[in-house]
């Protein structure tokens, strides 16, 4: 059987990939995708921990994260569309209306 730590290390790597994506990319859609990767890293950690502990709470938590992530993505994409209607771009570094 694969030890639990392997899963946790994998989820840590996924989480780091997501964080680097959010920090380094300028395209709002790719940032959104990176956030989804972070949330999936969370799910992996929850499911792995839950199955090793023999506790259903971890799996339940993963389901809740999935549902909420879907709701969040819906709202996020709507906001990105609203931005696109104004600026014809989804590049976050071009959003300078509110900076001085």
């Amino acid at each position: 059987m694969v030890p639990e730590s392997y899963y946790l290390v994998l989820s840590g790597i996924m989480f780091a990939v997501g964080v680097v994506g959010v920090v380094s990319r300028r395209n709002a859609l790719i940032i959104l995708m990176s956030i989804e990767i972070m949330l999936n890293a969370v799910n992996l950690a929850f499911v792995a921990a839950g199955s090793y502990l023999g506790d259903p709470a971890g799996n339940v938590f993963a389901f809740m994260v999935m549902t909420v992530a879907a709701a969040e993505a819906a709202v996020g994409l709507a906001i990105v569309i609203a931005i696109f209607r104004h600026r014809e771009t989804v590049d976050v570094s071009e959003l300078k209306e509110l900076k001085f």
Binding site: L8, V22, A49, I79, R85, R87, V92
Partner: protein
Amino acid sequence: MDLQSILLSLKAIVPEMILTATGCLVLLYDLLIPEENRGVHAGISAVGVITALFSVLWFGSERIEAFSGMLAQDTFGSFFTVVVLVSLLLTLMLSRSYNDWEGIQKGEFYALLLFSSVGMLVMAKATDMMTIFLGLELLSIPIYVLVGFDRKRLSSVEGALKYFLLGAFATGFLLYGMALLYAATGATSLSGIAAFAGKENVFGNTLFLAGTALLFVGFGFKVSLVPFHMWTPDAYQGAPTPVTAFMSAGPKAAAFAAVIRVLVVAFPESHPFLLKGLWVVAALTMTVGNVSALVQDDVKRMLAYSSIAHAGYVLVGLVSGDRLGGQAAMYYLFVYSLMNIGAFAIVMLLSEGEERGYAIENFRGVGFRYPVLGALMTVFLVSLGGIPPTAGFVGKFYLFSAAVKKGLILLTVIGVLNSAASVYYYLRVVVYMYMLPERAEEVRPRPVGVGVALALFIATVGVIALGIFPKGLLSFAESSILSIFLS
């Protein structure tokens, strides 16, 4: 779960149920009425909120462990329910006129405010990481929409995008922290984490430490602590002004409620280690917030930075880590909601529309042309600056005296210096109002309707009355904090 315990659980979430029902009612009724009558939704929502407030008083606040330990109704939860509902009520009063002025009068606006408040109440009562997460998301998602509600205005949508991206990013951190804590302790409930920390040596447990750190990074984003505050000025400035006022009061109080409960219930043992970190964050938050606010010429943006600084003051209470500090932090959160919503209300009145901004120039000569507006703004600013006899002074006094009693002298000195520096930019507005000559083209304040007048009245009376007679609210805060210390 048998019927008895289900009914008891439902009793613990009566205010949430009332708000949800009101929100659904507003959405349905919105379909039936013509566009020009939509202001009536503010009234319907306000009735719902007042009913919810009465239900809190009616059902009392004896402790109920609801839904198998997912939620707990106790005095602590009731205190924050009152804070959130009062902020929501004031916001509703401001929103009606504002939405007419800006042409964004829609039913969804009120429904989203109500749903978001449900999330805040859940968060304040949550005793399990699952419910904290659910409450936080239920709070955040409607707020993302509300910030970008005026979607014809670029700054509103831009604020929403920035808030959304950083908020979702922060949620990732919070959740990963929860996942690691779960992997380390095998429990999702706060008391389960505390039980694990009581048995094992957590300082050698990397998973536990990393989980705790990530959890607090997530919370830090939500209550806008430095260095996780970058979204705050932009989101606050872009949002419709009543939403800004609400964001600085309700969600902040709810998130602090969750932080306090997590600190007290889940981490009683590892306190010294955590408190060192919070000490640094509190000092940074106060200083960065105040220094940035000093140079702002837009009053709305200035108040956004000042709200960062105020989160730092509240954090000083948490760093004290005892009953006195918690009590002072809770008192301050309540008072801060009143004075900040009041200040935002006046700022909102003295503008020629969101597009034109909220330049401090608009305040020139206001004190003499519109004496009532000038006097009220002065009261709110004096209270924000922490000058007696206002409630802001009493709040800061208790926060800093709790810190001194704990021997946090250096932090108190930093706090008091910050508070003194903040007086500069608050009184700068007063100087503009009373001491500088008027401009040729003056800004006419928008007509004050019944709702706005009532909101200003409640906020002013609250700020002054709680400043002169703080005992009642303080003892409510004390019994609240005791209710989680002793549970």
